[in-house]
């Protein structure tokens, strides 16, 4: 199955940001914008919501903290009690470094794994490069064409009046 896209090519960051705002204000849905580098403020104009990854990090961290404490208390307090340095079997200060490390480890790994799952990023992941110049010095705005609904000439016009230096069409197999 293939999908058809209209690609507006831009060569200036500020023009691009303004164009995104205008195109969205005109009621057109932007599929994706490709850029050679991260552009400040592009998330806001594209209306992308903030990532919820920090929430995942918090709960993974919390899991790490509880797991580490449970593990140490169970091991050193119940399963195989040992006297170390004359301290009680369950001595909280001695458990803190391991707890800290496991909190950080779980939060970090949890975030990375969640990120991979959510973005479906895996070794077989195929990247559709709409226009190779978006890896060099051009910004590419991709808009999906719905057969019979999208007015091609109006869209072409909209992109051009908003500073696109080129407007191309491309079919991408999904």
């Amino acid at each position: 199955m293939t999908k058809k896209f209209v690609l507006g090519i831009y060569d200036d960051e500020d023009v691009l940001l303004q164009a995104i705002e205008n195109v969205r204000a005109a009621g057109t849905n932007i599929y994706e914008v490709f850029s050679p580098y991260p552009v400040h403020g592009i998330d806001d104009v594209l209306g992308i919501k903030r990532s919820r990854l920090p929430i995942v990090a918090f709960f993974c961290g919390l899991f790490g903290t509880s797991f580490a404490l449970w593990m140490q208390i169970w091991m050193l307090g119940f399963d195989w009690p040992m006297i170390i340095g004359g301290k009680p079997h369950i001595s909280l200060p001695a458990f803190i470094p391991v707890t800290f490390e496991l909190t950080v480890l779980c939060a970090a790994f949890g975030m990375v794994i969640t990120f991979f799952i959510v973005t479906k990023l895996k070794p077989s992941f195929k990247v559709n490069v709409f226009d190779k110049r978006s890896t060099d010095d051009k910004f590419v705005m991709a808009i999906e064409v719905k057969e019979g609904v999208t007015d091609m000439s109006a869209l072409n016009n909209l992109l051009r009046t908003n500073g696109a230096i080129e407007v191309n069409e491309k079919e991408v197999s999904k």
């Binding site: 403020g41 920090p54 340095g85 004359g86 301290k87 200060p93 470094p97």
Partner: protein, 422 residues
């Protein structure tokens, strides 16, 4: 870029004077109560008071220790102001330019801090520092203390005094140097002042690295003369630094709420919030590193420090010990964790006030057990002294802040700071 002048109204100044006046009244009331017989628990009779675990402490001693405590605390905040500016210069930071005048003006307290430090040491040195007593070094005296005598090459009256004067001379010198360049930049423009400031800042950071640790040993660690901790310089620095950051952030918020600093937005607050959040954790890290090693090794000469603050002194300091950790670690850690909290003035305001109070308690916990022991408390003398110092600090700070434009108009990175985005 337009200048923005802070105007301190008569009303605001009167508030600061009122603060000092209330402080003085409370202080006098506290002294009278103390001089008449050590407060309520003392009135019940000496035997009972001793049984209740309260040691009689002369009001002069309590006053000197309080003066010392507050002066070390506020001098630290003033010093951190200069340190913050220096760090920003050396890091070629752009974001902080709009708020740079606030840490810069904190340094105006340094000369007062130096004078008070000197006077309190000369008058009340014996009350604060056990090691200042001559008999400890006299082999023929029965109170001779070989451990303290061994520290005499470092801990002796004259060297201590010279060091104290040297710290303040160096700090004030660098503060004035940086401040002069900053103001000249406003007047004449150009990048030469900026480049010069970077060189001055780099030199100051070296000086600060040495003097902040040394002053912490001198002014705080030497109270517990027998005890030592190689982490202590860092510990005091961490406490000063996070209080200073909280003071800077709180000032930015208060100025903004009064219509100043119009170009400062949520992005700048976010960065300040990250600083406060990060360094409250850093303080905890240092706190724990010091505590755990001593707890684990359990060598009596080391663990006495924590025994005095936990079960010792009849558990007098136990609540402060745990309050310290809750207010300075758990509270900022949980409250400032989210991005939204760091971008909201109300959240930052609550946390910074808590941190400022919490680190005052931290210094209280560092100084009181070694000096007043069970005779310490938080009463009229403590609150009064703190109010007087706070009033004087705010007077000098706001006066310094009003001396120059709040926006460093000719700083090369001011434009970058205006467009700061995180």
């Amino acid at each position: 870029m337009t200048e923005e002048r802070l105007i301190i109204s008569r009303k605001t100044n009167n508030k600061f004077f009122l603060m000092i006046a209330i402080g003085v009244v409370l202080l006098i009331a506290g002294i009278i109560i103390a001089a008449l017989g050590g407060g309520a628990e003392h009135a019940e009779g000496h035997g009972e008071a001793a049984a209740a675990g309260h040691e009689a402490v002369s009001w002069t001693k309590r006053l000197y220790v309080n003066l010392w405590l507050n002066n070390v605390y506020f001098t630290g905040i003033a010093l951190v102001g200069v340190f913050f500016v220096a760090v920003q210069y050396v890091a070629y930071a752009g974001w902080s330019v709009l708020i740079k005048r606030i840490p810069e003006a904190l340094g105006y307290y340094l000369p007062i801090g130096g004078a008070v430090m000197l006077i309190v040491f000369l008058l009340g040195g014996h009350d604060i520092f056990h090691w200042t007593h001559e008999y400890l070094y006299d082999v023929n005296d029965e109170r001779y203390d070989p451990i303290i005598a061994g520290k005499a090459p470092f801990l002796n009256f004259w060297f201590f005094l010279i060091r104290m004067i040297a710290y303040f001379v160096l700090w004030i010198l660098f503060f004035n140097w940086l401040r002069r360049n900053s103001i000249n930049e406003d007047l004449h423009g150009g990048t030469s002042y900026y480049h010069k400031s970077i060189r001055i800042s780099a030199m100051f950071l070296v000086v600060f690295g040495v003097t902040s640790s040394l002053s912490a040993w001198d002014w705080v660690l030497s109270i517990d003369t027998h005890w030592f901790s190689t982490m202590f310089g860092w510990y005091v620095f961490a406490s000063w630094w996070v209080s200073g950051l909280a003071a800077i952030t709180l000032t930015v918020i208060i100025l903004k709420q009064n219509g100043y600093l119009k170009m400062v937005n949520a992005n700048h607050l976010h960065d300040l919030g990250k600083f406060v959040f990060a360094f409250s954790i850093f303080w905890t890290y240092i706190w724990f590193s010091q505590f755990m090693l001593i707890w684990y090794a359990n060598i009596p000469e080391e663990s006495i420090y924590y025994i005095e603050r936990l079960g010792g002194n009849d558990g007098h300091y136990k609540w402060i010990f745990f309050t310290n950790l809750i207010v300075n670690f758990a509270f900022p850690f949980l409250v400032l964790m989210t991005r939204d909290a760091k971008r909201q003035m109300i959240m930052l305001k609550i946390v910074t006030i808590a941190i400022l109070a919490g680190h005052w308690l931290d210094f209280y916990l560092m100084m009181m057990p070694g000096t007043l022991r069970t005779g310490a408390g938080i009463g009229f003398i403590e609150i009064g002294t703190t109010l007087v110092f706070l009033g004087v600090f705010l007077l000098t700070f706001t006066k310094g802040l009003a001396k120059a434009s709040l926006v460093p108009v000719n700083h090369p990175f001011v434009e970058e700071s205006v467009h700061h985005h995180v």
